[in-house]
Subunit: 114 residues, 2 copies
Amino acid sequence: MPDSLRRFKADIFQALAHPTRIAIIELLANGELSAGELIAKLGMEQANVSQHLAVLRTKQLVVNRKAGNQVFYAVRDPIIIKVLALMRRYFQKNLKGALELLNEIDNTPADSGR
Amino acid sequence: MPDSLRRFKADIFQALAHPTRIAIIELLANGELSAGELIAKLGMEQANVSQHLAVLRTKQLVVNRKAGNQVFYAVRDPIIIKVLALMRRYFQKNLKGALELLNEIDNTPADSGR
DNA sequence: ATAATATATTCGAAGTATCGAATATTCCAA
DNA sequence: TTGGAATATTCGATACTTCGAATATATTAT
């Protein structure tokens, strides 16, 4: 497999490699939502959510449509949702090791949670 | 879904978010290989491959077994291979947009920036 | 013991990602 | 045609990632 293809895949994974962006995709799994609705449901800074949406847009994981004042987002291809579903299964199967990992993450020193 | 779970998933995606690590997983898809064999097939610096293996080990995507002088690596759970297979489908389905993305990456102007 | 081989770790430089604050753009209503 | 709401972009500080070079550790052969 050519390296350019691997870079492409790596890029998609990079786009998914942030809790907020995973949350966004999961929120969009059942249909489109406006940026404002996403911001409300996530309970995060407007600018921050918008930046994460920009990442997902750039990597083409989501599409958006303007409706007057608002912008509605949707997952571009359901395969991405399948990938997340697989990850859920992976988590369940590997619960034990996963919990250890989570502990490590949680105990990561006073890292104000980025 | 709790945020800790999303952080866990994000962490796995982060581990997959590098072309070399994707190449490693793909090389291991058909069975275990020694670190040396991986290094040879990848044609990269020993230290670098070893560092990438360390990432995959830490995130528990691979397991390893020592045999005398050598260390053999294997993918821990075939779900991960399925995830990569899904990504291959995604790439094929979205070939057009993907190619544009690849172009952008390649043509990223003599990027002294960022 | 000593050397040779296989693999892992540490270090520091350079690049990349993330955040909130501030600012800009776009669209609609009055 | 001004004002307000929704969304996007820019900026700078801080944290994280990646690389090769150098070094360390472990295992076998001499």
